[in-house]
């Protein structure tokens, strides 16, 4: 297990390093002076000169890269010219809001998605299964910014039972979290269904029946534990889509999270904050995938013990 954890940890750091380097590269490949881009249109020449100096823009690329990496390690992304505060701090201030939204959505998706997927698999090809499949296919392909708008139209404007945007009461959380959960939920349903159908004819499920175990025991620990292995991997990958979706959903519902900070900073050309937000989201994503990988190793001993 130790070797496995170490390997996954190393890979995660590697991915994060890759993300940081891509940001560095993109900033320098894009036409224009990086210092000018970072400081925004209203910066005065002395500020630009100071930042150019600090970023080492007159030095060779490698030196610039070293300076940049040093800053990243110290979580120093400069100051936000809009707020005059530390860029990373500004982003971090909005993390709790995003976490609230994302965790609620993931929770909703898991609580609804797993049972639906299991029901669909156990009643494969029945009417119930068909309904669940059509529902999940539709929700997976619907653009979530549009779903959010329709929700606002129906529940906030039409029925007037829920607030349309902003944050505060639990009612504010309902529409955004459902919107964000839907595509994730759809994938979860489909994966759980196919995963379970795939293992239901395996030898060990037959063995479990031959052992005289109750059908509930045959399905739950024996079949499901195996069926979950591929599901968990995809959940990890889909978490990236969820984070991307969060950016959109936060914008639609004016939810004061990291995603909204990101989009607002982009429209104000506050690139210090943009950089910090992108890296933070990337870090969250990488960390989540590390957790998922470890969970995968826990679920499948063949992976964990493969040296």
């Amino acid at each position: 297990m130790g070797a496995y954890v170490a390997r996954r940890l190393f890979f995660s750091i590697f991915v994060l390093w890759g993300a940081v380097s891509v940001i560095f590269l993109v900033l320098r490949l894009v036409p224009g002076d990086p210092a000018l881009i970072l400081l925004g249109p209203d910066a005065n020449p002395s500020q630009i000169a100071a930042l150019r100096e600090r970023m080492g823009l007159d030095e060779p690329m490698l030196v610039q890269y070293a300076i940049y990496m040093r800053d990243v390690v110290q979580l120093d992304f400069g100051t936000s010219f809009r707020f005059g505060t530390d860029a990373m701090q500004h982003v971090l201030d909005h993390v709790p809001n995003s976490a609230q939204l994302a965790l609620t959505s993931v929770g909703l998706a898991l609580v609804i998605g797993f049972p639906l997927g299991i029901i669909a698999a156990l009643k494969a090809n029945s009417v119930v299964d068909r309904i669940i499949s059509v529902f999940s296919l539709a929700t997976q392909s619907l653009p979530n910014f549009w779903v959010g708008i329709v929700f606002i139209l129906v529940f906030a404007r039409g029925l007037q039972i829920l607030p349309s945007y902003g944050q505060g009461t639990w009612q504010h959380l309902v529409l955004p979290s459902i919107t964000l959960a839907l595509p994730f939920l759809a994938i979860l349903v489909r994966l759980t269904r196919s995963g379970l159908l795939e293992v239901i004819h395996e030898g060990y499920v037959q063995t479990a029946r031959a052992k005289g175990l109750r059908e509930r025991v045959v399905i739950f620990p024996h079949a499901l534990r195996n069926a979950l292995i591929p599901v968990v991997t995809v959940i990890g990958l889909q978490f990236g889509a969820l984070l991307g979706g969060a950016v959109i959903v936060e914008t639609v519902f004016a939810w004061p999270g990291v995603g909204r900070v990101l989009i607002e900073s982009i429209s104000h050309r506050d690139y210090g904050v943009v950089q910090a937000a992108i890296l933070l989201i990337a870090a969250i994503f990488v960390f989540t995938n590390l957790v998922v990988d470890l969970l995968y190793g826990y679920l499948d001993p063949r992976v964990r013990l493969a040296g």
Partner: protein, 301 residues
């Protein structure tokens, strides 16, 4: 082992879905026919629609502002889907939007396909460290949420149709590279390739004559699977103000624009969204069906 009984007890039996009752003989032919028809209608509408229903980006007509679907316009024409906040016909906007969505989708996949196939074929053909480096790169990019990368690059480049294509191509080349590489590896081992090589064929000739033709079918399948999500990504970026510029009537821009008038004009955001959803769902069904029929193993890529 050709054990009839164990064959019987395996999931071939009805526990797994039997071929859907589609009326067609081959699996998924009903799905393919249905979704291909819808897609064709869109393509047709995108090609010829804007000729039939004129759309003028800068024209404004104050008396025709925010008219609901089915209204008569001041010039006597009928606005089936209503008008937007400056009095432009929504149907014309949606047709124009179809053109943009499909054009961006196709252009993105072409670019991503060229990048991906080039990288995949080089990695597969030459192998060794090049293969290692390129495929690790692909792994990393694949684990990384592509929309984030797209947002970042789009934010720096600014909104434009060309930039959207570049951004989305960068986040979509990996699948093509993997498919091409897998195809090269399986083709490379075949006898006729060996034979050609023994005859003294040069690398370029081998790639062009033996390897690329083998890649075409799976690449087309993958492209169909991907185009729906590319169109969706374009709409998302445009909705966020990072895709097509606000002067372009893409679906994402129109939906975003309609958000300001939700109380007075529900149709501005809703109807283009339906157009988008139907197209994406159809491409999704078409892609899945083609993959199931021609190359089920692509599912894992």
């Amino acid at each position: 082992m050709s054990d009839v009984v164990s064959d019987l007890t395996r999931p071939t039996a009805p526990a797994t879905p039997p071929p859907r009752k589609t009326g067609g003989k081959r699996p998924g032919s009903g799905r393919i026919r249905f979704s291909a028809t819808v897609v064709s209608i869109y393509v047709f509408a995108a090609l010829f629609g804007p000729w039939l229903v004129r759309y003028d980006a800068v024209a404004t007509s104050t008396p025709d502002r925010l008219l609901p679907p089915g209204s008569r316009l001041s010039d006597g024409s009928l606005a089936i889907f209503g008008t937007d906040d400056v009095g432009r016909d929504l149907l014309a906007q949606i047709l124009q939007g179809a053109r943009i969505s499909i054009a961006v989708g196709v252009a993105t996949l072409l670019l991503a396909g060229i990048i991906g196939v080039t990288i995949g074929v080089s990695a597969g053909y030459f192998g060794g460290w090049l293969d290692g480096v390129l495929m690790r790169l692909a792994d990393i990019q694949l684990t990384f949420p592509s929309i984030l990368l797209a947002i970042f690059i789009a934010a720096l480049l600014g909104p434009s149709v060309v930039n959207v294509v570049i951004v989305l191509a960068i986040s979509n080349w990996v699948t093509f590279a993997r498919v091409a590489r897998a195809q090269v590896l399986s083709t490379k081992g075949r006898d006729f390739v060996d034979a050609t090589r023994t005859l003294g064929a040069r690398t370029w000739h081998l790639i062009r004559r033996c390897i690329l033709p083998a890649c075409i079918a799976p690449i087309l399948v993958v492209a169909t699977v991907e185009i729906g999500s590319v169109i969706l990504a374009e709409a998302s970026l445009s909705f966020l103000g990072l895709g097509t510029p606000t002067s372009t009537p893409s679906w994402g821009v129109t939906i975003s624009n309609g958000r300001n008038y939700l109380s007075d004009a529900w149709w501005i955001s809703t109807i283009p969204g339906i157009a988008l959803a139907v197209l994406v769902v159809s491409f999704g069904i078409l892609g899945d069906a083609l993959r199931d029929r021609f190359d089920p193993k692509l599912k894992n890529l």
